[in-house]
Subunit: 256 residues, 8 copies
Amino acid sequence: MRDILDAVATGEVSPAEAEAELRGYARSGAGRFDAAREARTGIPEAILSEGKTPEETAEMTVTAVETTGSALVTRADDEAAAACRQRLAEEFPDADIERDGRAHTLVVHAPSYEPPALDATVTVVTAGTSDVAAASEAAVVADEMGATVEFIDDVGVAGIARLFDRLDEIRAADALVVAAGREGALPTVTAGLVDVPLIGLPVSTGYGHGGDGEAALSGMIQSCTPITVVNIDAGFTAGAQAGLIARSVSAARAEP
Amino acid sequence: MRDILDAVATGEVSPAEAEAELRGYARSGAGRFDAAREARTGIPEAILSEGKTPEETAEMTVTAVETTGSALVTRADDEAAAACRQRLAEEFPDADIERDGRAHTLVVHAPSYEPPALDATVTVVTAGTSDVAAASEAAVVADEMGATVEFIDDVGVAGIARLFDRLDEIRAADALVVAAGREGALPTVTAGLVDVPLIGLPVSTGYGHGGDGEAALSGMIQSCTPITVVNIDAGFTAGAQAGLIARSVSAARAEP
Amino acid sequence: MRDILDAVATGEVSPAEAEAELRGYARSGAGRFDAAREARTGIPEAILSEGKTPEETAEMTVTAVETTGSALVTRADDEAAAACRQRLAEEFPDADIERDGRAHTLVVHAPSYEPPALDATVTVVTAGTSDVAAASEAAVVADEMGATVEFIDDVGVAGIARLFDRLDEIRAADALVVAAGREGALPTVTAGLVDVPLIGLPVSTGYGHGGDGEAALSGMIQSCTPITVVNIDAGFTAGAQAGLIARSVSAARAEP
Amino acid sequence: MRDILDAVATGEVSPAEAEAELRGYARSGAGRFDAAREARTGIPEAILSEGKTPEETAEMTVTAVETTGSALVTRADDEAAAACRQRLAEEFPDADIERDGRAHTLVVHAPSYEPPALDATVTVVTAGTSDVAAASEAAVVADEMGATVEFIDDVGVAGIARLFDRLDEIRAADALVVAAGREGALPTVTAGLVDVPLIGLPVSTGYGHGGDGEAALSGMIQSCTPITVVNIDAGFTAGAQAGLIARSVSAARAEP
Amino acid sequence: MRDILDAVATGEVSPAEAEAELRGYARSGAGRFDAAREARTGIPEAILSEGKTPEETAEMTVTAVETTGSALVTRADDEAAAACRQRLAEEFPDADIERDGRAHTLVVHAPSYEPPALDATVTVVTAGTSDVAAASEAAVVADEMGATVEFIDDVGVAGIARLFDRLDEIRAADALVVAAGREGALPTVTAGLVDVPLIGLPVSTGYGHGGDGEAALSGMIQSCTPITVVNIDAGFTAGAQAGLIARSVSAARAEP
Amino acid sequence: MRDILDAVATGEVSPAEAEAELRGYARSGAGRFDAAREARTGIPEAILSEGKTPEETAEMTVTAVETTGSALVTRADDEAAAACRQRLAEEFPDADIERDGRAHTLVVHAPSYEPPALDATVTVVTAGTSDVAAASEAAVVADEMGATVEFIDDVGVAGIARLFDRLDEIRAADALVVAAGREGALPTVTAGLVDVPLIGLPVSTGYGHGGDGEAALSGMIQSCTPITVVNIDAGFTAGAQAGLIARSVSAARAEP
Amino acid sequence: MRDILDAVATGEVSPAEAEAELRGYARSGAGRFDAAREARTGIPEAILSEGKTPEETAEMTVTAVETTGSALVTRADDEAAAACRQRLAEEFPDADIERDGRAHTLVVHAPSYEPPALDATVTVVTAGTSDVAAASEAAVVADEMGATVEFIDDVGVAGIARLFDRLDEIRAADALVVAAGREGALPTVTAGLVDVPLIGLPVSTGYGHGGDGEAALSGMIQSCTPITVVNIDAGFTAGAQAGLIARSVSAARAEP
Amino acid sequence: MRDILDAVATGEVSPAEAEAELRGYARSGAGRFDAAREARTGIPEAILSEGKTPEETAEMTVTAVETTGSALVTRADDEAAAACRQRLAEEFPDADIERDGRAHTLVVHAPSYEPPALDATVTVVTAGTSDVAAASEAAVVADEMGATVEFIDDVGVAGIARLFDRLDEIRAADALVVAAGREGALPTVTAGLVDVPLIGLPVSTGYGHGGDGEAALSGMIQSCTPITVVNIDAGFTAGAQAGLIARSVSAARAEP
């Protein structure tokens, strides 16, 4: 700030220019909305399709590509995905569109967009097939942030031997997202076997008392091995924080 | 009932006698209170010391020994145990008194009392040292019901290898009680490795969200491997039902 | 393990073979997935139709029959059941298919499959007609595990005399599953009258405060007579643990 | 109102007198505070000792006796009761003081006080000894309202035969209060056997999930036989409403 | 019982006859199911249409009329009501059918049925129009039990003057059911103004925190004037207990 | 900001001064901590004594008086109040100290302090004596903010006529705080009778289900007449917002 | 009242007239229902369309216009709005109809209706686009009460700089409604920056633990800066209380 | 494993030696207990003093130092700390003991112990002084894991400018732990301004609805900017996971 003010004092910068600059600084994180979010927090701004009409989702997707060159749409059903494809075909016929049906995501890259590339790995682990949707959402966002993403599924504690067979791969990660529903024990068991930052992702399976993921969440929160946790089905959040860890590690690797 | 009525018709039994008999039958479970409970349900009537003065506990203990030849006192602190010993020293100087400080129990056998002996094993497993009180209560009641009781402690999932080291012992049980607090994952993991009836016993460790055993309870209730569950810290209940299973198995073994 | 290693030392077994064998041992419980679960835990692997498309259910059913010779499908509506029948008609035209409409189950046995047969009885008791679905699911799984299954329905505590009329039958069981919704009092009352292992199965009837089975669950968990409990509507879990008790008793009966 | 206004019109009543009268009518329930409550609602105003110092309780007790000739103190420990006795000895040496140690109540009648007497019976039933405090509070308030009060204790459902032995007495009541803790099943079972208005009184026994009376409350609220319910440990409320029923029946009996 | 046994002793009664009699006594409440419920508890057995197909409801309605001469169907939508009318037109063309669209009930009386008639009044009070469904259900069951039923609606506390205008009518009741949703304050306010037994009926209006009737229920349970409470929307329960009070008062009036 | 920058450009203000000014502006609320909070939000910074040692409370009180000329201590027991008095006697022997024992507050004014004076009234209403602590805390903070404060107590809905007697006084307020525990119905009833902004203050009375103020909170949140609400026992919050309303009204009155 | 009684005494007013007058006074708030509510509480009576058929909503709308000259319909979907328009076209062809699609409201003014006009501003602030429905409902009701309404949207704390850009506008309000979902932090942050009465409006966004607005509600209730709160999505309540504050300020401004 | 088996085949390794080796591998995580935990998970094994006697804590502390050369005691009050010092003075007179009174921790290093040193920073941020205990616990564990730890306190959202003043320091961290109680908004606001992995640590301040940290936890779980979360007051967990991130970053920095 002092530099700008010195420049104003010397006349190098006009008061009007200084005001723009200083306000810009004051709000450095916000700037022009969408682009700024990613620049400020390192996490791409996602378009949550759930609760929007297919048309609204498509409209926001086009806007995102216009502004930032890319778009990440989450919780998009087939109808919303189709609406996006149609609008994109008109507006950005050359854009690269990747639909992940399990994750219910749509990732769009304009030809000019240069996606980030990190020298670090996020590994996503699931207890069973019903954890795939939330876990895949985590994988997509980490991938979009540039991490190398590995996916290890169906290693739940009901048949614990499956986990041991994959331990070397799991230990090789720079950050782990471990998804589980029902009683949600897999993150606890895994964290007792590895020395990698680990994010528990509770999944909304289960019924009756503690159903809809509440038992999994409270179990992970009470885990006797220290782990961090995100909300039930919050794949985006888990992937984004794992992506931030990968980003830090990658930057450290790149230091001379 | 028909036999008694036939006997009344033939005069073998007087109507007054028959009434006593029939009422006794009708209320076969209640009859003389304490003795009947055990006869009817196979589970000893316990004296819950918690919420009673030491004197009240001691008084009920003496009554139990008078009526049934034995007494099982639970959740008894040292003061209550001392009061019991004092009263018993006066009334039943020859009684055998066994105090389990970890389980907070006191077991009393009059010299004449012939404890049941079952040809079956109940194995009680704990995740960590803070589960010992509830688990020991389960062990004491199964022991009092006549089962051979094995105790395997500190095999929690934070260091899963400890569990594998003891698997053969665990598999040898006729019934399992598996105690765990915090996230309560041990019963789930164990049940995925054995083919023995297994009762999950959640323990009131943990704090914050899902603390006081609620996370453990809801996790066990949601277990992805089928197990049965009892209330938080309900060692008596877990031990009693495990004891009933041991009783059935023992009876089956004794069949010609 | 020592045997294998001795064999390697003597050259009887090649290192590669030993590795396969040892890894198999290390993961003895998992092996080839479906078959192993039942071998390891004594409980058949069920296909939960709820949350799957009819086609997915049918596909997994065929796979299960291929792998293990049998399949147990739960929470299958009529559409799912029809899809299974159609696929099975193509793949296993000789398979024996049993549909239980009340339990919403489908049980499939290939001609070559030899179902287990236990010398022990599981008795399933219900308070009222709305408990039948969960109770029947318990009955089907116990039956599939080989137990003799008795079903006593509509003996709820609102008309307690109905329970007394059936007490002798109830007392004859080797393991009891007692299902009840609303206030869920039947397992407590029953457990005060019998000396048989008893599993309370809360059912998701009721509305308002404590509705959807929560009052029944917490009531059973607080039962003043010791019982074990499973989750709301968890008929599979109750039947599986009752089946394990029957299995133990049957094995004891078979001991010389 | 018209009568008063007519009287004003004819000059029989002065406007000032009429205003007093009409305001009195408008606030007929409040009038002079303590006396009015009982006149208006038929339920004596009680002094809740819990949360007050012994001196405060004693002070309010003296005020109550001064104003209404009687006092009903609830949840009074021994210290509070002693403070009351001391103040009453000074102020009302001839008052009749009845202390119920189980109910933690103190009832005071000045010599001039004429207690109500109803020709109707309130019967208070308990499941076990830990229900006695709340149940006794209900009994004391019904007694103070003039009902004949019967007390039947320890007939809980763990030994259901005890209940059947007392059914005739229970059926003879004009209103029932049935107290139970833990799973709280006794009111449901009782209501299925009698045709008398029945109020369930949940008691704060039990621990863990559904403890502190919550399981009992939700069980009674879900009761499959229709009953009404009061809050946990709300003996005063249960006794007061049972007393109102007795009052109505007694008045009906007294009709010519 | 002694009488029967004396008769057996003297040969007046055969043992077989005595057994039937005694068993009948032992199960006096159950006898033949439907009829017995009402005889034993004074409350008609209702057919809950909710959760049944129209055909099932119609089938049970016909059975009820066959057995007891009357039927009370609750929570019946128009489709269920039509199915009942159709079946009844075939089986009991002369039956009297009364449909209450607000209460969602259907009451059927065979020509031979003599409904009870009580000399007592149940008054049902509502806070607003959204309470009408639950309140009407209460009114219908009290009416079916023979009480004179008065209905006073829309006197909620948001405009408290409306309540004062109807106080005389409310005070004239022998039993009150007061229904309210949202914050559920009406029963508390009313109970402070009358000396009649009062049952609070919380209604499932409201949204957000404490919605679906939970705020109303907990408010009534905490009421600073003593009232009894039933479950959310439990109009049947409220009406049945109010009907029992009316029955007792009516019987008292009929005493010579 | 432009003015400052213009001044820098013209040399009227040095860059260093401008930086201080601009940073000060940017953080106008924080500046020197305590003083700034009140300047920014209009609400005095309170010292919450609960959870602090008497010495810590006294220390912070002295600091507050040093910085702002006044101090407002809340939830101070007698010991904390004494510690404050002792320290203040040393440091500010001339300060004016006002202790409100019911509110558990201590208000300190240095001789130089000029308290605000508003031309507006905050009226605090309570349902009963147990609401006095929270209500008095609200009154103290509104008074400290300069409002004229009226206190109307014991007008709860159990005797609704008391409320009507005070309606004119209540209607004369510029802002209302209405405190109630148990079922918390008073704010709803009051809001239906007045056209003044009204803040409901739930109080932590009551026990059992919905106890500790939860029923009162959810009832006020569901109020069928629109009111705003604060947390249970949050007298400070209620008084502060009522004080802000009084401040706005007073400022409006002072407009020319 | 004395005046009327004096007039009766002098014969100026007949007793019948006086009765009408006095009863009218006694029920001054209720009188003829709809009109009286607004007169008494300053808040317009709204018609909640949710839970009503389009026809019922339209019918009540016509009645409201007939009685009071205006109508405010809330939570009305397009179908309900169309039904209202159709009925109004028949009955009040000249009425002014304003539909707010975001707020789901319909405001109707008969030509003769003179809407209130206040000299005060209510500013409604939202954290994001999903808060618009509830916030707009608040805006509509404050507008209908005559306040000048400003709307500032999308200034949530995820990009806090947006809030700072609008602070001057926010500070200029006479009353604030701040809407936020998810973690609901915006009202807390805003209240730390302004000295205006502020009402937090939690919105039912979010999923999993604390979803449906519960986290937002409890966060606002726990706010470390004092604010008042309304129920989740209770835009009407927030707008009505903000309107009352504006009304008080406007009246103060109008004082001579 | 293949290497060992090859060696057995060639006779280099005896079968007995191989068995030891392979078993050791199979249980690599457990081995000798305490040391292994840290080796396996990278997190030091802590001794939780809460719930233990001072003597027990001291005993376990000595054991830890004996086994691993260091000890980390958490939630140790002054009495426990004194007991540790006394025992350590006897057993390890040269050990370095560091007591953090705010964190309630005790860290012990034997002279021979070489603590890890990481080239990475963990920054712990607090909203206010009541968050210091939990935040300090996080700081101590991260420090013990070798991270450089920065501590920035009292930057809560009630005075948001304080946060902006420290943003540069916060952005410089490799991992952030942000602690907050009450409504817990600080982590959300912070995460919107930085691109560093961020762990929210809810603190058990607050009372009434959402008190004891539940509002803070659910708010962080619902955060509209992606963050991970740990249990209420779980400083150890937050610090351990932040430490693991620092460890990964440090290792990446050390890569050639």
